[in-house]
Amino acid sequence: MHNSRWSEFAVESLIRVLGFSTVGLVALIFVFLLREGLPVLSEVALPNFLGRAWYPTFGSFGILPLVLGSVLVTVTAIAIALPLGLATAVFVREVAPGWAREILKPMIEVLAGIPSVVLGFFGMTMVAPWVRQTLGTATGLTAITGSLILTYMALPTLISVAEDALDAVPKSYRDAGLAMGATQWQTIWRVIVPAARSGIVTAAMLAMGRAIGETMAVMMVTGNAARMPTEWDALLRPVRTMTATVAAEMGEVAKGSTHYHALFAIGIVLFVITFAINMTAARAIFAKRRRGGLR
């Protein structure tokens, strides 16, 4: 009896430690990112670090072009993916007959599982030449190419979360809409989609979080020129994102150099941005729960 109580205690404390290990993981991320990234602030003047030029070999560590590059590519991708994904979610959930749903849902899952290198490869061999020919850009490796590839990455997240949101709208809402004489389309557009609004916002935020953190595909298709994307035709020119910078340059920096610290500082900025995006997405979910009724 005594023995079994002891082993019970041992197992319980082991499992407790495992549970707390996730907190440890977050702490690890914070500690190591800060430890390796913060020294850059003492090595580089703040105006330099927040400046408009990223030329590490000449001591310019301005992260502004990289942040704006990431934002440009991501926002464009979500702008393309949101209408497409929302329409697909509505179609799959509300309009499509059963057999179409059976085909479409696995396809969405397949799309979600495609590795980013494969998408990047596809972007290099097919989307980039297409962009060059149809949009007449000097090179196919532009911001818009990256956005199109990120649309691929963002769509599955967007569709499945938006579909869950639509799914959560009670059946009585639909019945009420139809009973009032609204057509199916009016019911969808005026009743169901507004009722699922917060879930759709969550879907867009989660997709954005995924898109801004994407590395390989973006690195392979955006041309990687670290310049300010402020011209009106910035979408048709090469850009460089934060993620691509870290992946491309981390291999050749010496440990402890300013450049090394600067790359970790980019990691901190990226971490903060995605954290904020995910928190907003989680807040949207909670807001829906608090309003109650809907679920």
Binding site: I29, P106, W185, T215, A247
Partner: protein
């Protein structure tokens, strides 16, 4: 569902053209929009199909191969080259390859001791020297066959036109090479398997343990709420951040352990800690939140009555969990684990940061070896200027997709099996 526009329009409406037009207009708008929805869905399907077709298209097709020496001219006494005896093959090598190269080959392994197959491959490599002059994609090969034949006849009169699938058994079993025709993915596949093994070994027990804690032991305290929010946030952290973490912890801080020096297994080439072990640990951190979330759902779906039944018979909480909750939740946990593994297989960015070696020809032999993985290899090949590397990149992509599809299919079958059983 709930589709009854026909029922609505069959109601006898009151007279009045305005009303009639209004109703008709509403339905027309509805039809228009549902067509738009359908179009958008079709667009999404087309986009996905284009991607898959593009990959398959690049992975096979015609190639024009030009041999430095015609293999038929090498046949002796009417016996074709591939049927010759070892001695004759050695003679051919001796007469066509410079003495210095023969000496080098002899010093690697005496020619007389090599197998006939090895010698034959040596003759092909050193004497026949097949070279791919130009390659075409599958669609070009099917729809433009005549044109390709004309081009080959004009530009490479000595070349032979052969249909070649780049994804072949040779491709799977050959190591990396600087010549695209002979390059394969064996080292990359082995690297992927080793990395995955370490990832599972760490992430599975840790993830399931954490899930059991959160679902069975944790009360609704402030700390536990923080943990729950944390896990969802962790799943959203970009993979490259995990790469930075892996670089800082496993490669830089724990180099003596991850390079194997602490266990006397060190190798000067891996002394910097950029080993399979570092990569596996990094990927384990990456998939941990996914495994926890999936395992939590699986544990949560086990009926309460099962726990109460066991507890009321006097079992301790751990006994209940071990003998009733975990076995019942196992299919769900495994499904989640397989999905997490398929994420780990395709992940490249963290490994780029952790420092996968891009060009290795020696098979990885354990956790302390240098390594490359399948997606790293694809990335490396796409960066090469030669068009042939694009084709083997397509072949490797196809292989990766097939691998992932197989894993996802297993997961779905497991899930369906589980949900059928779940009705008890």
């Amino acid at each position: 569902m709930n589709r009854c526009p026909s029922a609505v329009s069959s109601i006898n409406l009151p007279e009045g053209d305005d009303l009639r037009d209004f109703i008709a207009g509403r339905h027309a708008r509805g039809r228009l929009w549902s067509t738009a929805l359908l179009a958008s869905t079709i667009l999404a399907v087309i986009a996905l199909t284009a991607l898959l077709v593009n990959i398959v298209d690049g992975a096979s097709g015609f190639v024009a191969i030009e041999n430095a020496v015609d293999p038929q001219s090498l046949s002796v006494d009417g016996i074709a080259l591939q049927d010759l005896e070892s001695e004759t093959l050695i003679q051919i090598i001796g007469s066509h390859v410079s003495a210095a190269v023969v000496r080098r080959l002899e010093s690697e392994q005496p020619l007389a001791k090599r197998s006939r197959q090895d010698l034959y491959e040596l003759v092909i490599e050193r004497v026949v020297k097949p070279e791919v002059k130009q390659g075409w994609t599958l669609s070009e090969s099917i729809f433009g066959r005549e044109e390709i034949q004309v081009v080959v006849a004009e530009q490479y009169p000595k070349a032979q036109l052969v249909f070649r699938s780049w994804l072949s058994l040779d491709f799977l079993t050959s190591p990396q090479s600087s010549v695209p025709e002979r390059a394969g993915v064996r080292t990359a596949l082995l690297g992927t398997l080793w990395t995955l093994l370490i990832t599972i070994a760490l992430a599975f027990p840790l993830g399931v343990g954490a899930a059991v804690y959160l679902e069975e032991y944790a009360g609704d305290t402030f700390l536990n709420r923080i943990i729950r929010t944390n896990i969802n946030n962790l799943a959203g952290v970009p993979s490259i951040i995990y790469g930075l973490l892996g670089l800082a912890i496993f490669v830089r801080s724990c180099a003596p352990i991850t390079s194997g020096a602490a266990f006397g297994r060190g190798d000067p080439t891996t002394a910097n800690g950029r080993t399979i072990l570092s990569a596996g640990l990094t990927l384990a951190l990456l998939v941990l939140p996914l495994i926890i979330i999936n395992a939590q759902e699986a544990v949560r779906s086990v009926p309460r009555s099962l726990r109460y039944g066991s507890l009321s018979l006097g079992a301790t909480q751990w006994q209940t969990i071990r003998s009733h909750v975990l076995p019942q939740a196992l299919p769900g946990i495994l499904t989640g684990t397989i999905l997490a593994m398929s994420r780990a297989i395709g992940e490249t960015a963290p490994l780029v940061v952790v420092g996968a070696t891009t060009y290795i020809v020696i098979d990885p032999s354990g956790p302390f070896s240098k390594f490359t993985t399948l997606p790293m290899q694809i990335y490396q090949w796409t960066a090469r200027p030669q068009a042939d590397f694009r084709r083997i990149a397509a072949a490797a992509s196809l292989l990766l997709l097939v691998l992932l599809l197989a894993m996802n299919a297993t997961a779905i079958v497991l899930r369906n099996h589980h949900s059928q059983k779940g009705c008890l």
